[in-house]
Amino acid sequence: MELKNKRWSSERFLAQRKEVLGGWPTGANVDFEEAVAYHQALPPGKIFAHKLEQGKKEGVTFAQPRAGVALVAEHIELLRYLQDEGGADLLPTTIDSYTRQNRYREAETGIAESRNLGRSMLNGFPAVNHGVDACRQVVEAVGVPVQVRHGTPDARLLAEITLAGGFTDYEGGGISYNIPYSKDVPLENTILYWQYVDRLIGEYESRGVRINREPFGPLTGTLVPPCISHSVAIIEALLAAEQGVKSVTLGYGQCGNLIQDIAAIRTLQELGEKYLSEKGYPEVMVTTVFHQWMGGFPQDESKAFGVISWGAAIAALAGATKVIVKTPHEAVGIPTKEANAAGIKTTKQVLNMLKDQKYASTPELEQEMEIIRRETGSILDRVFDLGEGDLAQGAVRAFQAGVIDIPFAPSRFNTGKLLPARDNHGAVRLLDYGDLPFAKEIIEFHREKIAERGRAENRSPSFQMVIDDIYAIGKGMLVGRPK
């Protein structure tokens, strides 16, 4: 099938649909028209796009956890607890890793084992195996909107089932759920898969049912510079919009430097709107999501609370529409419901204390925003060039050429030349910019920033700096200084 950034025809979509729904027996229970009716009957308070729009208007930042366990009743109990005790404004359903790799048979084993052992043996909720009705039980059990969060390169069947199941928001994208989440799935394939997902949402949209889409912002979660995640987020937003998506939440994973993080969220909102509108989709609503630090966490729970709070503070000061919350168990394992609620409560305390305080513009912040704008602009310009006008082709070629390069990604379709490291103030810069199409001044800017740190630490910049930075937050620091 030819990859083009062009809205799929009904025929093409429907032809593929049969095959998709046949992927696992539960696919047979998807009845699109009935699902549309189901969505139309949902109260506005359970619709993601509606709540996000409200929050954006009022300038509040919502808190959303990650959470999912193997069995339906336990999953419902978990979500209710996060809503009632944790005070979550928005809820997730995190999908297990077998489902993410379309290994539904292994997921089935995981469900059985979980029943036998009385504890979840899966790291998430296997929604495909459970099917449409189980999803609706989940949606109906809680009072706030629920989103599907996963990491699935081919998430077509998962989308069919969960959206028919009443979920109103779907995370992921053809790049962001491929490169960090797989090893040898070609980008062409996943972009096609995700065009399907977006086209499906466009189908819902055409019946007046709004499903929000959220490209996965943090990518590998580890020292990803804003220009990389911004470029991916914007490409995926444009691809989604073309298939008929009308509401997107663009994401960014906290790096840790106050100025850089605020600049990132502000430019993400701004550039997202700019590109969508310039490329012909001015009606798409753009909101933002800030992820609390996505890399290695400290094992000590008190220290984890510190990391969580600092993330919450930045989300509020930057004015992100929502924040994805970490937990005090992060470094060790999937959190208990209590630990998960604890993370939300800490976050909400900070969000609430800061909700009437915004970070005013400063020359420093302006400079950082300008850097991000220029970097992202250079990358996206080149992507469009490479695609000779077609964004989907451009994206594939950009990865081939290293014009987009995601640090530490497992995929062999990622060049992996980029080496990020923190500067002397903790902002993520580039020790090696690989094949990014940056202007001379930008390259010089990064070089000087890293050199400045090298001077302060009395060492030459090297891969050891990167390693030190990867461990740093887990060891209670931001910048990985030599001992």
Partner: protein
């Protein structure tokens, strides 16, 4: 002295690549010859790599929680393949959730692993143990 060969990989449907990359770097720096089969590695890939390279140890990572399901039967397959004597190590976030590590260790030892490491183990510890075990 001949370099010792180690097979390194992240088992199952697990894509956590960062620790793998760092272990590769640290073990190489420490003088080992590292055969890194990367993430999303199957049991068969571990065994084939070990056989092909005549490896002195197999280092399995599992971060994402499904380790118990993914590691089951690996030792038996090693034995079948004649790799009885090759030490089998495992480390990472080996179970779903925060559990008592003594119990986890016990469980993995029963599954046939020679050494079991808790979350966040630093490369130095591994390198020290390898120096002890491989001589």
């Amino acid at each position: 002295m001949q370099k010792k060969t180690l097979v390194l990989g992240v088992i199952g449907a697990d894509v956590h690549a960062v620790g793998n990359r760092i272990l590769d770097y640290a073990l190489t720096e420490a003088g080992f010859s590292v055969v890194n089969i990367g993430v999303l590695a199957t049991q068969e890939e571990f065994i084939n790599a070990a056989m092909e390279t005549d490896a002195q140890a197999i280092l399995v990572s599992s971060l994402y929680g499904h380790g118990e399901l993914d590691c089951r039967g690996l030792k038996e397959k090693c034995v079948e393949a004649g790799l009885d004597d090759v030490p089998l190590y495992v480390g990472g976030n080996l179970v779903v959730g925060k559990q008592d590590f003594a119990v986890v260790e016990e469980h993995y030892k029963e599954m046939g692993f020679d050494r079991v490491y808790p979350p966040g183990t630093l490369p130095d510890v591994l390198i020290r143990d390898l120096a002890r075990d491989l001589h």
